[in-house]
Symmetry: C2
Subunit: 288 residues, 2 copies
Amino acid sequence: MTAIKIDGRATAKKINAQSAEQTRKLTQKGVIPGLAVIMVGDDPASAIYVRNKERKAAKLQFNSVVKHLPADASQAEVIALVQRYNEDPQIHAILVQSPLPSHLDEEAVVMAIDPRKDVDGLHPENLGQLFAQVGEDFPVACTPKGIMTLLSQYQISLPGKRVVMVGRSRLVGKPLLALLNNANATVTLAHRHTTDLAELTRSADIVIVAVGQADLITREMIKPGAVVIDVGMNRDASGQLTGDVAKDVEDVAGYLTPVPGGVGPMTIATLMQQTIQLAAWQTGQVVD
Amino acid sequence: MTAIKIDGRATAKKINAQSAEQTRKLTQKGVIPGLAVIMVGDDPASAIYVRNKERKAAKLQFNSVVKHLPADASQAEVIALVQRYNEDPQIHAILVQSPLPSHLDEEAVVMAIDPRKDVDGLHPENLGQLFAQVGEDFPVACTPKGIMTLLSQYQISLPGKRVVMVGRSRLVGKPLLALLNNANATVTLAHRHTTDLAELTRSADIVIVAVGQADLITREMIKPGAVVIDVGMNRDASGQLTGDVAKDVEDVAGYLTPVPGGVGPMTIATLMQQTIQLAAWQTGQVVD
């Protein structure tokens, strides 16, 4: 048996086509989705991510602003910039590229973002609304939201399913736990303190891994036919991009997201999708 | 084997003694902890809960206010009352007794409470901070917090432990998931859509149940020696108070909270403890 590959590129392409159409309609109504990306310092991986976001936003004809601050920018400068975008009605979504240089307080920067413009869904108010299932018009972290789109696209049913979420970051594991629980899956949140992870994952219908450790999930950890979602992004010795899931898992899983080409393309497509949504909410428009 | 009974009354008594001492010290500094309880209508169970809270607050010499609105009070009246307490510097903690009459929007009432005075920890901002592990000076739902105190009192270690939390309410299951995960347990959130609950609970070192269904958890669902925390409050045919855990679970569990006398007394003791904490935070005092 070989797992069905969940094609993130094809799904992202669909989302992007929809986003282009929605942007066109909003622009006709005088609303151009505005995305501001703040990058501090010269982390090479961050520079690539930011450039990819910038290109995609430009292609969709967003009002796209990238502000690059020097590595020695002060906390006050970064916060002042966030506040400027908070107050700018042309900007609907603000993203601060992580990681920030170590002298900066990333937490305080996130807290300074207007929750309505917090396109990464990192603000506790947004995470709390998601977890509490209160309201509907708030941003949700893009990678988890993109994974939910993939599951839906491949008609993977969630109510009553056992899900093991490995990794509990604020950007992936925690919001995904909330989304999956809200969809009536039975979710276990696993992490570095979890004992006998293999036994746990073997009991799961769906295993999602977002740890950043190549080959963490191996064939014998997966129940035959299970869905495996790989959020890992690691470079092997030869510089190749690999996920957290070992190669031979494809022989046992029912569905699998490849790396690259699985979750990755969905994150950026969802970022654009959500920027449009935030623009619509902030201006009283409806996108469909 | 018979389970060790986790004595909530004795533990609550310790907490209450500490609260009395803290209140005495704060009062000397001119800060009298202020708790406002809002009750709407005449639900008899609610009336009992409110009276118990009022008595305990009076005993601790809090500034205790109970405002009883008629069953036909309007949404605007309830919100106006909440706002009055939000602005009253003598009130540090606001509790709206649930359930509200069905013509009222409970969600909107909760959202109207100043998050710093939200002693039930229901506001999404507070739940979000707990879930995201951001900051420290925010209120947490009293029943979950009281359960954590019991686990700590009985030196039940959490890191790496498998916990199954049955029930996912905003007042118990969700905040408890967050607290237990923050304490490095591996937590599964189970609910009405969960399949094969017995198999799941049998794999757990700690089972917590907050559903409101007598005898939901039976002996064969529990691993020998496991810790069982019963948050249920049900009345049997003869009017006796029972939990969600069947009687014979005590023959197999290692630790068990009885009903009554387990979790119940901790909720009200924690409410008082947290009111003092909120009073201290709001006035720049320190309690220890």
